[in-house]
Amino acid sequence: MGIFTQSVTVACTTAGVPLHLGWNGRDYVLAAEPVRWYERRRWWTEEHRAERGRGAGLVDHEVWRVQVRLERARNSPLLTLDISHHLDSGRWRLVRIHDGAAVRLRESA
């Protein structure tokens, strides 16, 4: 076991839509409109508690699929990333990297 996801920093618009991305010490910008969904978690194996009144974020988490390129190199290839937003901590993590046809799935811890 281990942590398969990587932390990313994300700057959002006031509406909560991602705008900038910091990953592996590099800055990325969005190149297309991002897509957002809510993805289920297997909370009964991942969580220690599920008490009443815990609020959002137990059963699902927000995932954005973003197409980004390096901010400093406008001609760099497009990268498609899935990043998840954990509501309770406010942190963002990278969960999947799509390159071309193959999708490298990275399990969330």
Binding site: V35, R36, W37, Y38, E39, R40, R42, W43, W44, T45, E47, H48, R49, A50, E51, R52, G53, R54, G55, A56, G57, L58, V59, D60, V63
Partner: protein, 1263 residues
Amino acid sequence: MGGAPGFPHLHVASAFSAHYGVSWPGELAAAAAADGADLLACTDRDGLYGTAKHVGACLEHGLDPVVGVDLTVHWGPDHTGTGVLDSAGRVVVLARGGTGGSGYRALVRLVSAAHAHTTGGSAGGTPYVTMAELAGWAAGPHHGAPPELFVLLGPGSDVGQLMAARRYTAGRTLLRRWKAALPAGSLRVEVVCHLSPPGEKLSAAHAVKMLRAARDTRVPAVLTNAVRYATPDGAATADVLDAARALSSLEALADLQPNGQGWLKQAGPMHQVAREVCHAAGAGGAGALLEATHALADACRMDPGPDLGWGRPTVPEASVIGIDGDPVTALRQRTLTGAHARFPQLYSGSRFSSSRAGRDLEDRLEHELGIITRLGFASYFLTVAEVVRMIEEMGVRVSARGSGASSLVNHLLRISNVDPMRHELIFERFLSNDRSTLPDIDVDVESARRHDVYAAIFARFGAERTTLMSMQNGYRARGAVRDAGLALGMDAEQVDTIAKQLWRFSASSFREAMGRMPELRGFAEQVESGRAAGQQQLDLLVDLTERLDRLPRHIAMHPCGVILGDRTLLDRTPVQPSGIELPMSQFDKHDMDPMGMLKLDVLGVRMQSTIAYTLEEIERTTGERVDLERVPLDDEATFGMIRTTHTLGIFQIESPGQRELIGKLAPVEFNDLIIDISLFRPGPMQSDMVRPFLEQRHGFAAARYPHPDLEPVLAETHGVTVFHEQVLRTLDTMTGCGLAKADEFRRQIGGPQEEVVEAYFRAAALEKGYPLDVIDEVWGTLHAFGSFGFCKAHGAAFAVPTYHSAWLKTHHPEAFLAGIFEHDPGMYPRRLMIAEARRMGIPVLPVDINASTERFRLEWVPAHPELPGGPARPGRSRHPDGGRWGIRLALTSMSGLSEREVRRIVAGQPYASLADVRDRARPTRRNLERLAQLGALDCLLPPGGASRTDLVHHLELQHAGGAAGMLGEAPTGRKRTAGPRQVDGQLSLDLPDTEAAAIVPMFPAPSRDQMVRTELDLTAMDTTAHLMDSHRPYLDALGVTAAEDLLSLRSQSRVLVAGVRVATQTPPMRSGKRVVFISVDDGTGCVDASFFTEAQHETGEMLFSARLLLIEGTTRRTGPKAISLQAIRAWDLHRPEALPDPDYLDITREQWRAWLRRDRSAARSGGVREPVPWGPGARRRLVEAGAGSAPDAGAPRDIPHHDTGDWPVRVRGAVGLPPESSATGGDRRGRGLQGAGVRELDIHRPVPVPHPETWELLPTPEE
């Protein structure tokens, strides 16, 4: 759409969608209102279960209600086997509003039609409607009229499923078919987007396809969120419900919701969803979608009065009750006729006597009729009278219970048998001008005839005017733990063990309970160690259990409610099969008043059946016909028997607490029974009435009246306020407010309006010249009394069967106990009543193939019978020849024997041989063996030949195939029955039983212990000997005291007792702490032991689970004939490793003495503090608390009572009531109960019967 107009949610499942919805209607309405919505729909699955609550909640929050249902549709009539293609999936159906009821009527009829395809119960099939039914009910009244129903075709429909499977063309074709099948204008496409991942159902793409299909087929699309919970927090609860519904673990569940977005989203997020979906569909802005949604919502707004008949009582038409003309005149005539019958000396049939009593009677009658007429309830009284008349005509015992006994009109109409004049009952307690809802008249009938009575009511009033009421069964702690464990995929046995340790606390406070309840100590430690080891399962189990608390699980027939209405009843309530032949409403008792329905409580009371059976047996055996109505109410022998406290089996006074109270109160007359029953309620206990009453009754203290004016009011209870009636009269006397107002005040005391009442009371009493200290004292009493306590009319109505059953037990004990065995009326297991018969010296005869029938019958036992249970005790025989009546156990007492087998056995009696039994009774092999094991075939064995054991072996061998050549594969005797049958009734008595005679005697007869074990296994009764007898050697060595010997001991003696648990009770106590009362039976009688905090800690896990207990305790003499035990600790007799050694009493004597000294000094100083026993539990706590740094360190934590939830606290009326509240959050503790609901509760709910907390308060009379 600026500001916050709110989003009109049109697809919302409430918690009343069993195993589906999470949030209560009140929570949903509050959330919608908070978002600025002005309407909200409730669309429960398969029924209108939450509709009435939803409408009530909407009215409370200023919303317009929309009502609908979430239903399965089939394209055609169900061809079994072709199912899949046929199904059209689930759709939402909404009723059109503002129609004067026609939209709602169509919805109700549609739901009833869906359930007409089922037969009730879990195996009765799932409800659905056919497309033809749906189209039929959706259609407007005439061509061109708007439809009555709207159908929302969403993701759960067949169209939605095709879209999710990306079969767009097929979906569009199917959508066109829907459009063609339904009336013009009734179809909508329901667009739902839960923002699930691309490719999954309820994703944006899924919604887009639905929206496009709607556009292509020109069907208006509306937006919903398919809501299952009010807030995001409810999503996890919904997951658990999905698992429970599928009987699966979450891990294995294929059909989980894709995510947790099915909550009641605010307008902002909903508009955002609308924009995203419309944008992706290329439909431009979201305006059209939202507009269509608002337009549909507007068309469905319900006007509760005209559309639903909200709050308008409806009773059967006059012609149906059997009157023509004015019901008021008819009621007057019938009451006058009744007056002549009941009081011939006061009313001659034309005029009232001029005596004082005659004038009182006339005044009272006019007073009541006046109020009934003003309220327009004459038809209601006539209806109830008609029902009672019909029941009496059937020859079924019937009596009214409850406050209905306060009414003279009820007495004259024969609804109630209690004379309200004689017992000074107040009509206003039952009905007054200030009440606009129909009063409750509850009728008790024989339980065994209840279904007959229901059928007769249906026949009498017509199936269109009658239906049974239903009730919602919610999750309680044990069920919640089991389903939460299932969802987590835990081992079923482990979950079961945990479930059994839970005792009556609300599941919502599971985690809190773990810290406080000794019986959960082991579990709490497991959770702790699991957490340390990184296993979260038990922690989650606790959280999920709390989430499930009180959510409705299923609907069931209410035990007594029958709804009567006019011929439009079935337009106003949907009905479904009930499990018995008759239909039941989807509404429960809380829905009756708001939905304008008349409910009659026809309660089956086992004691009434017991009494009826007793009377039959008396007549059958002696020819004597006993008319209980003529039995005088002052029989000294009966009261003498009651005062011995041997009251097991007697109505209302058999519980441990009541036996103690009876011992203290020592009733001498009928009114004492009314007082006794009334005292034994939470209210009187709470406001400390019991102790002063008993002290003053026995002359320990002089009766005291706050003011001479109150003496006539309080004299019968020696100055103590016991009855509601006394509260009313006190208020009236001191303020002159009138009795109707006084009853209203009484209801407000203890509620939020109490201050207003207090201000009025003080001002008005001051004005009438009462001194301030009197006012203070009286208000103190009224305040403590609260709005509960007891209505004397209830007590009087209860006291009648109490007295009758006591009279029967005194004068016809054998027949009465036969009745008790037959109908099992009380709180105790039947085996305790067997022990009671043994104690009374009544022979209990075992099951016998030739003598037993389908009933428990009296049988003459001649002198010196060879009874397995030993001879009757000397001195009890009442007949010169030494014989007496015994009770023969019924064949039905053996489990596993079917009704048909019993009937065949009885029809074939008597039997001369085994072959004869096989031939004519034709029991299954297994049952033949069981009968042999029980000794029911002993009568067929040749004297001196084979034993019962030999016979059992013989049969087992035969059935195992040893005699296969003779019997072949067929069940016992089948081969022979296949041959020429004997003529029915022809007996083969002369033939010797060659088969039995041929069995070679090899084994001895079973020992007594073996026989008892077999009896317990097969009949749950120990008939031959008492269950405890097998433990006798150990118990004797230990020096255990028998129950019958306790009475001769001094108070404060230290004893060990042992017995079988027969009752466990945790009544609300004044201190708010939990005290556990456990009664055990050791064959010589019952011992009632109280476990206070420390004893509960000492006893631990087995407190609620052990069946055979050894209890150490100190005797407490509580009355001349009563003694009970204050427990120190208890052991489980089935865990020999934990049991004390035989010298236990000797080696711990010094410790006990030290303990007793502390106990006494504690009692002297504080009076409230409990003694602290020694023992492993106390030692452990000392260690935990830091090695006894302070004297209090070892004191155990208090255990709060499960109903009051905290301590110290006054027990409010809300005892045990599930207030409609959250499963998803919010504080529900301490939420009181408003208004009048309290009163019904303490009658209908099986409350743990309270126990007078008089242990440390009463002076103890020493002999």
